[in-house]
Assembly symmetry: C2
Homo-oligomer: 249 residues x 2
């Protein structure tokens, strides 16, 4: 989701001859403006539809490509959706096949990025039911989801158009537990629209317990930071790089 | 890859006192302008780096959501990258796990969209070597890769932020065969940068032989058009919808 763009309110020009007396045009203009302000306030209060994700499309410059663990954290922190792979148990045609679906995720507010990807899902989804049967899973995130690769004029498959591949076991959290509450808050902060999703779907907070990390951030082959390195990298927060590394093409 | 955006050439203002005599400033400006024009021409000739993908970020309006097969074709036609899921055979930690990596793809030029996703890959990639061992695979494409979901203010996980999930068997094409040549051309048309990728990588053209299709394009659950319906939908070309269905929020 790319929400960094600025939405401008466009007034549609009415070409037909106006029948409103000139003396009342000022009042009507004020009414129009007031209605837009009220609409905007309502949108902000409900956190939707004016804000659907708080992750900006224009992310800070990345850490150096040789800092693999930090680079992996950078991608996770500054992205808000992923493809989640799992093993299908849905029908005879796909049974045992790897399948993948796009989900929104959050590893915490931007100010407290943990590296643990939390997801908001429902057992109404077949893929999620598959994960109940078989927890083996992978989360894949590409910086081409935002403007990073466009800004550098990189094809999605170009290894410099960075991507991270997190493989592990999916865990459905216990409803109401401290971690559930934390994960749900982490999701709501980055995806305010989720607060409005229908309760009847019985939303579940889940997370990926990462076992293996592949990072593609440069030519010369993938890198494989350890899980320990990945989580340790949080001590030097990726936002520390902000404005330190110039964006180069 | 979002290449619909307009790249503007920004002149960097030089704050230091200029030492160039005023009389020569006009000539220098001309030289600067000429060099930009020459650079742009070179870029266009090589199809890179000024064009890395010919798929526009601003795609035509979609077909109606109840036309599942046509909608699936619409996503495939108007997208240029995907996540490709496969089964890992890389190491003891991930063996048997579903893994996924982002690849560029093409199902043909926009004027001849076939629905068959072709990929350009190399056995230098571990994931591609996995596919040699086990061809079971899934391609997942979300319209959040472009501006579709932003334009409608939809979160990536919102079912109206459409995605298609194509499951099947991956096939590496015979080098130099008619289909290899066709697939390579389909890729080069949408990804001109690929022509410049290092030959030493021994690039392979592959495709997904689709067995099962899941489409998410609206609330109310996934749709499952048959493979036959999917390929038949090509007879009514998705571009036929251009300008027929208004973009609504």
């Amino acid at each position: 989701m790319k929400t960094g763009r600025v939405y401008t309110l466009q007034f549609i020009s009415i070409r037909r001859q106006s029948t409103v007396p000139t003396s009342h045009k000022g009042e009507l203009t004020m009414l129009y403006l007031l209605s837009f302000v009220l609409l905007a306030c309502a949108g902000v209060q409900a956190n939707t539809p004016f804000i659907v994700s708080s992750v900006d499309n224009e992310i800070p410059p990345p850490p150096p490509v040789d800092k693999a663990a930090q680079y992996a954290r950078y991608i996770v922190r500054n992205s808000d959706w992923c493809s989640l792979s799992h093993v299908s148990h849905q029908n005879d045609v796909t049974k045992g096949y790897p399948m993948s679906r796009v989900f929104s995720f959050s590893d915490g507010p931007l100010s407290n990025s943990t590296g643990v990807p939390y997801l908001y899902t429902t057992f109404m989804d077949r893929g999620t039911r598959d994960l109940k049967t078989d927890v083996r899973s992978t989360i894949t995130i590409s910086l081409d989801q935002g403007t990073f690769c466009d800004d550098r004029k990189l094809d999605a498959e170009d290894p410099r158009c960075s991507q991270v591949i997190l493989t592990g076991d999916f865990e459905f959290l216990e409803k109401g537990s401290d971690e559930w509450v934390w994960g749900q808050n982490a999701l709501f902060v980055k995806h305010p629209a989720m607060k409005t999703w229908p309760e009847s779907h019985n939303w579940i907070v889940g997370k990926l317990n990462i076992k293996f990390i592949e990072l593609v951030d440069n030519v010369g082959g993938s890198k494989y930071p350890t899980v320990q390195e990945y989580f340790k990298a949080s001590s030097e927060h990726p936002s520390a790089y902000l404005n330190k590394i110039p964006l180069t093409v």
